[in-house]
């Protein structure tokens, strides 16, 4: 049976929750689904209902807003695995509902009048020697394990990378019993100051964010956690697990300079975020040059009937995601609303965006693709040996990006490295293309196919 809600919202983080609530207010019949067992997304990732805690809110910002939004009906544990494009109507969305990566999940198929994609983003982690040692985590992993499991990823932890997200991660770690040895921001103070203090009036719409950040800075001071600019982790060391990291001064382009080694049992790294855009790509939505989904001021994508909100449209944080979700949900339901302009994503990129000198951390045997164990040297050698400028053929000959994660972790890095080695790829951008959006078992696919045949 194909379900036909007025509005289908995929993703129940801040943007999706706001979109679904707004669409409901506008009178639409809404289905809101998420792959997780509960609403909140990564931002409001929280303890499960089975583990109540009296003061859970100390791990969160905007908890009251979440408390209001989370009361909505949610189709949980729903993994969208296919978005089927049509010429004359919005796409059909195929989901499997049940325990994550299970075998006999329930099939649900939706042909909504309007689709709102609010699938969020995940971290971009640049490779460095030893980054696949156990004890190296993405900063998001540290955050998720602290908020939803009350597990600290280590006892002596270094938080490193770029961007304001490093601060809440440090705050969560100290509230989970870890000692944070330092928060290391790759970019230098002048760049941070220039980007964040220019045209202050524009930041008015993001003032909630400023208050949130100020809270984290107070946290750092209270816990005597050093915050260092122009500094990064450029290597992790240990026998089977992290025992130490090399911390380097970084130049303005992130090229490594003076190094020192410090003992640590975990390092949490985030160099930025990648929009989780595969469903939008499958739907045919146009992307902006940075890989985020292009929308107009009402949240419309380039595909009629398909809207996008939140981090997949540009990394801007939860307040912006809530605002975008609200607009997209209202308009998807047939109402009218418009986004206020905010320069936050552009500012974030200007202050914290990745700089090309990071490749100075790499050695030939530094792993780039963690799934298929492809090194930086393998990529360069393949480009030199074949003379190819085709990303597709270089992926096939090296297997970079072809493993279980389907290039989610290494895709952009592989493209950037090959772009340099080849003098310019002929087919860039394709590592964002994943027609099958999640691992699906052949048995589930076969059952799906039989169903389709019966309906045909």
């Amino acid at each position: 049976m194909i379900e036909t809600p007025d509005v289908l919202v995929v993703g129940a983080g801040p943007a999706g929750l706001a979109a679904a609530a707004a669409a409901r207010r506008a009178g639409a019949q809404v289905v809101l689904l998420d792959a997780a067992a509960d609403a909140g997304g990564q931002y409001w990732r929280h303890l499960p209902a089975e583990r109540p805690a009296a003061r859970e809110r100390i791990l969160h910002h905007g908890w009251d807003r979440f408390a209001r939004l989370r009361g909505q009906e949610l189709l949980a544990d729903a993994q969208v695995w296919l978005v089927e494009r049509h010429d004359d109507r919005p796409p059909t969305v195929h989901a499997l509902v049940g325990p994550a990566d299970g075998t006999a999940r329930e099939k649900r198929v939706f042909a909504p009048r309007a689709l709102v994609l609010a699938t969020g983003a995940y971290e971009r982690t640049l490779p460095f020697p030893g980054w696949d040692l156990p004890g190296v985590f993405t900063a998001g992993a540290a955050q998720a394990l602290a908020k939803a499991e009350r597990v600290a990823v280590g006892r002596r932890v270094v938080v490193a990378g770029a961007g304001p997200f490093l601060l809440p991660v440090a705050a969560s770690l100290v509230r989970t019993g870890a000692r944070v040895l330092g928060v290391l921001e790759a970019n230098p103070w002048p760049r941070l100051a220039r980007a964040w203090t220019a045209r202050p009036a524009e930041l008015f719409a993001s003032r909630g964010k400023a208050g949130e950040l100020a809270g984290y800075v107070r946290d750092l001071i209270r816990h005597r956690i050093p915050y260092r600019a122009a500094t990064g982790v450029v290597a992790a060391h240990g026998d089977g697990r992290v025992e130490a990291v090399t911390v380097a001064r970084l130049g303005p382009d992130w090229a490594p300079g003076t190094e020192r080694r410090i003992a640590a049992d975990a390092v949490c790294v985030s160099h930025g975020f990648v929009p989780r855009a595969e469903l939008a790509v499958a739907a045919g939505c146009r992307l902006d040059p940075d890989g985020s989904v292009h929308t107009d001021a009402e949240g419309r994508t380039s595909v009629p009937g398909v809207f996008a909100a939140g981090e997949i449209t540009g990394i801007g944080g939860a307040d912006l995601a809530l605002a975008e979700g609200s607009v997209a949900g209202t308009v998807a339901a047939g109402g009218a609303d418009r986004r206020g302009f905010t320069g936050f994503p552009a500012r974030l990129e200007a202050a914290h965006g990745i700089r090309p000198g990071w490749t100075g951390w790499l050695t030939d045997d530094t792993l780039v693709c963690r799934c298929e164990d492809v090194t930086a040297g393998d990529l360069r050698a393949a480009a030199e040996a074949t003379g190819s400028r085709g990303l597709r053929s270089l992926k096939l000959s090296t297997r970079a990006g072809l493993g279980a994660c389907q290039g989610r972790v290494c895709g952009r890095t592989v493209e950037e490295l090959l772009n340099r080695h080849t003098g310019g790829l002929l087919d860039p951008g394709r590592t964002a293309n994943r027609p099958v959006a999640a691992l699906v078992r052949l048995g589930e696919l076969a059952a799906h196919h039989e169903d389709h045949e019966e309906n045909a």
Partner: protein, 96 residues
């Protein structure tokens, strides 16, 4: 972390038990399989193609580093699967 020291002041939780590579491992209802494994001090439970140890990396279902078998079904992301009392977890690595 130890509930007695936890600033979020956790309330009572239901104990569960998983069988991980034949050994009983305690956890709490609502945890993910990865949460139970990490809470029990296990950092790695898989090897990459060339034998490098793997455990949790992204923690949000993206990287697929943390795959385990759950009740005989392979390739389940441990960070995404909620643990159920009595689940039999098989890893491809001996405990480290």
């Amino acid at each position: 972390m130890n509930p007695a020291d936890d600033p979020v002041r956790p309330g009572p939780a239901t104990a569960i038990e998983l069988v991980v590579d034949g050994r009983a491992v305690p956890g709490l209802a609502g945890q993910t399989v990865a949460g139970v494994l990490l809470g029990a001090g296990r950092r790695t439970w898989r090897s990459s193609r060339s034998g490098r140890p793997r455990g949790v990396f992204c923690g949000i279902g993206v990287c697929h580093d943390c795959l385990v078998a759950v009740n005989g079904v392979d390739d389940v992301r441990a960070c995404q699967r909620r643990a159920a009392d009595g689940d039999v977890i098989t890893t491809t690595d001996e405990p480290r």
